[in-house]
């Protein structure tokens, strides 16, 4: 059924990217699903977004030091990149490897960190974890620069195992100590001094004289392990396959409990996790393969609207719906503030544990912010996304009934499936003004106002909070 193809494609694009316009969905749905997935998991097929264009519009957007500006640029990429999965993977790993700006207050190094995630997000987990361990933002965030041969600091070693790769219960305290020793000497340097030049990205440096080269044991193995050896061992562990698969499920399929509960609460869909684990192990930790497996899987295709949108997804998806920000503007920076008051300042997660997701995104304050942001974004009838829907309805050349208005707006905003009460409330609103017509100027103005009102109510609904 054509509508189900659209709905499936919309689901795929919401999960593998930040949504798609109705026109994009129409053209995507004409192609085989598998072909679309291959395009998504092979972002190299498409040109990289030229975000230097931002500088040509507004030099202000090149401000190196302001994380809000960079987050605004990230939103611009999310909605305009031809490589949506690449941006989504960067956001995914940012959730998992939660590294914050607050401690370093060093924006270029954080930007470099996000670029590292973008570059490696679909690569092999081994490469990703090695790059992560060499990443100056991470090294500073978890004190590996304080991890010395003669005075080991366990912070990074512990979180690498607990939060970034395997989860608690799959290693001992001794393992942590040995991992810490293996990463001694992994530090960073600041090639250009802060004063008077300002912030420039730090770079990784390995100091062999500060590295503990003695024998170590880790997960039952013994050797003069260095950091790469530790990562090799981790990636071969069934626990890592399970942990990363559950993260992928939680981010791309349906909300799981918060990560700290994973060691005691089993996954809601063990069979789904098993499919991902199998793919992970067969490909030796190749994330691209796991993502392909995921998007092909029935459990993925069937599990729709089972995740509360993160603020970032909520904002980017709503912008996409309105057709906003196709061109650079200073308004991009306001998106960072919007995300912050909804509880997700990008490049600045609250703790190394990352953001608490799912239901925990929502409280009275954040719900108010979400609803008001969406209404504000959608209420302007001049926006391309509203005009597109207007054109679609006017193009039918027939009066539009209340039912058709509700259906068309729900279709445009998702397609979104809503509960009975929601639908009835919307139908009552739609019925109050009679049929919608387009013949006269006055009728068109009235039509426009009613379409905008219907869409604003839909983006204010509970159902719209779900991805």
């Amino acid at each position: 059924m054509a509508n189900d193809r659209i709905a499936l494609m919309a689901h795929l694009m919401r999960r593998a990217g930040f949504g798609a316009t109705r026109a994009e969905l129409d053209s995507l749905a004409r192609r085989p699903y598998e072909e679309v997935v291959e395009d998504l998991v092979n972002p190299e097929r498409f040109p990289e977004l030229d975000d230097k264009v931002l500088a040509r519009y507004y030099p202000h957007l090149m401000n190196q030091d302001n994380p809000g500006v960079w987050n605004g640029r990230w939103f611009y990429r999310m909605v305009n990149s031809k490589r949506p999965l690449q941006e989504k993977m960067a956001l995914f790993w940012h959730h998992v490897f939660a590294t914050g700006w607050t401690k370093s207050e060093h924006t270029p190094t954080m930007v470099q960190h996000i670029e590292m995630l973008r570059r490696n997000g679909l690569g092999n987990l081994r490469t990703l974890l090695v790059e992560l361990s060499r990443d100056p933002a991470m090294i500073y965030w978890l004190d590996n620069s304080e991890n010395h041969r003669d005075a080991p600091n366990e912070n990074y070693g512990r979180e690498l195992l607990e939060l970034f790769s395997m989860g608690i219960g799959n290693y001992t305290e001794t393992d942590i100590k040995n991992v810490a020793r293996a990463f001694t000497g992994w530090t960073f340097e600041q090639p250009i001094p802060l004063y008077p030049f300002g912030h420039y990205p730090a770079r990784f440096v390995y100091r062999p004289e500060d590295h503990d080269d003695s024998e170590k044991t880790f997960l039952g193995r013994r050797g003069k392990f260095n950091g790469e050896d530790i990562v090799d061992i981790i990636v071969g562990q069934p626990a890592a396959a399970r942990f990363i698969s559950r993260h992928i499920y939680n981010f791309f399929v349906a909300d799981e409990p918060q990560v700290p509960a994973w060691s005691i609460t089993p996954p809601q869909d063990q069979a789904a996790i098993d499919i991902l684990v199998e793919s992970f192990e067969r490909s030796n930790g190749d994330i691209r393969s796991v993502m392909r497996t995921l998007f092909y899987a029935d459990f993925f295709k069937e599990t729709r609207h089972q995740r509360v949108k993160s603020p970032t997804e909520f904002i980017a998806g709503t912008i996409k719906l309105a057709g906003d920000h196709q061109y650079p503007s200073l308004g991009l920076v306001a998106l960072d503030s919007a995300a912050t008051v909804m509880g997700q300042k990008l490049m600045d997660p609250p703790t190394v544990e990352g953001w608490h997701t799912g239901k925990e995104w929502i409280d009275g304050g954040t719900l108010t912010e979400r609803v008001n942001f969406a209404v504000e974004t959608i209420k302007d009838p001049a926006k391309p996304g509203i005009q597109a829907l207007m054109g679609r309805l006017a193009g039918r050349k027939k009066p539009v009934t209340a039912r058709q208005l509700v259906d068309a707006c729900l279709d445009h905003a998702g397609p979104l499936e809503v509960e009975k009460a929601t639908r009835q409330a919307l139908l009552d609103v739609a019925s109050s003004g009679g049929e919608i017509r387009f013949e006269t100027e006055k009728a068109r103005a009235d039509a426009q106002a009613r379409i905008v009102r219907m869409l604003t109510l839909i983006v204010a609904s509970r159902e719209y909070q779900f991805a």
Binding site: T351, K359, G364, G365, V371, K379, L426, A460
Partner: protein
């Protein structure tokens, strides 16, 4: 009587003012006769003849005259040298510790959220705790606890971007219908319904506050004055709010401290003084305690332009039932006593300050909230709880 049936008034109320960025305690309550102070801070020191003395050795910052007045009137307690072991220098981490009382592990339940849970276990009044500012502070966040966060009291609520009042009213009714809990719609959907309806309920009650409020106090035009005026408007409306929270930002003065800190302290102390006057004019000061706190103090030595993150901060307790004066001890300025060779060593655990407020002012058992027994102060002349 207000809609929620609560009698106006006499439950104890706490107003928390968070100074974000790490207020420089040494330049707020200043050891103005101490040679070490002047030597350590050639740039940001306050000259002896400019400071506003409160004792032979301590003085308020020249911009904090209204605060000194409150002190002299016996309504302001200075809690000196607040901190905890291994004070964090990260704004985020330090603030998190102040909000959760968990210095050694990452926690997500706020200390005040736990109080809300006790005051209103069934979540019947979404206004039990009200934050002024956008985004809920972690101190007020915990699963299952409702707290209201108000960015702009005069334009608060859902669907505010809809400008036509009548259409907004109608759309709010649609919103209420869309957020009707239904059998079998799932836990998260139900939670969303509840939250959405709470926001509407809270907003409807809050709408009354600006309408009923009349005052002769003219607050200054700055964010903290605006926030405290909002607190006064809601408090005097008798909506049953027990905890108010607001934030005064900008205290992270690594640079340009001399100018910035003076402006902030002038704003803060002016706003508090106006607020107290406003409450008294409404016979509504008796039940209010103000806590002013920050996440950490700053380094003893200045850096040539400002001061870097340090430890050993201070707090203020202000109110008509407060026994004004100095509490705990000023951290030693003796260089041999400096923490890590550069910081003030704390003399009083911040959890003891919270404990004092919880047990003695709010009548809530502090131990499970602050995670243990900590030495407390006796800063009240009388309280409303037994």
């Amino acid at each position: 009587m207000p809609a929620n049936g609560r009698k106006k008034g006499k439950d104890p109320v706490l107003v928390v003012i968070q100074l974000s960025g790490g207020n420089d305690f040494m330049n707020t309550v200043i050891p103005f006769t101490n040679g070490t102070y002047h030597d350590a801070r050639p740039l940001v020191r306050i000259a002896e003849d400019k400071a506003l003395p409160i004792t032979d050795t301590l003085a308020f910052h020249p911009s904090a005259a209204p605060m000194r007045k409150l002190f002299q009137d016996g309504k302001l307690a200075v809690v000196q040298g607040i901190g905890y072991q291994n004070s964090s220098r990260s704004h985020f981490r330090a603030m998190d510790i102040m909000h959760t009382c968990e210095p050694n592990r990452i926690a997500t339940e706020g200390w005040l959220a736990k109080v809300v849970r006790q005051f209103d276990p069934d979540g019947t009044n979404p206004l039990t705790a009200v934050n002024f500012g956008r985004g809920l502070p972690r101190a007020l966040a915990a699963p299952g606890v409702t707290a209201t966060s108000v960015g702009d009291l005069d334009n608060y609520g859902l669907l505010t971007p809809i400008q036509l009042a009548q259409q907004r009213e109608e759309d709010l009714e649609v919103f209420r219908r869309m957020y009707t809990p239904a059998v079998g719609s799932g836990l998260v959907m139900d939670y969303l319904s509840q939250t959405g309806r709470d926001v509407i309920k809270g907003a409807e009650q809050l709408k009354e506050a600006p309408r009923a409020y009349r005052s002769t106090v003219e607050y200054a035009s700055n964010p903290i004055a605006k926030s405290l005026r909002d607190v006064a408007r809601v408090h005097t409306s008798g909506l049953g709010t027990r905890i108010f929270y607001t934030n005064h930002g900008g205290y992270d003065h690594h640079a340009q401290e001399v100018v910035t800190h003076a402006r902030l302290l002038a704003e803060l102390s002016g706003a508090i003084s106006d607020f107290m006057q406003d409450l008294r004019d409404h016979s509504a000061s008796d039940e209010v305690l103000i806590l002013v706190f920050t996440e950490f103090g700053r380094r003893i030595k200045d850096n040539g332009s400002g001061t870097d993150h340090g430890s050993g901060g201070g707090a203020f307790l202000i109110g008509d039932r407060v026994a004004g004066g100095l509490y705990s001890e000023y951290p030693s300025l003796e260089p041999s006593q400096w923490l890590n060779g550069e910081d003030l060593r704390h003399t009083f655990d911040f959890r003891g300050v919270y404990g004092t407020i919880l047990d003695q002012w709010l009548g809530v058992d502090s131990e499970p909230i602050v995670g243990g027994k900590f030495e407390q102060l006796k800063p009240f002349t009388s309280t409303l709880v037994a």
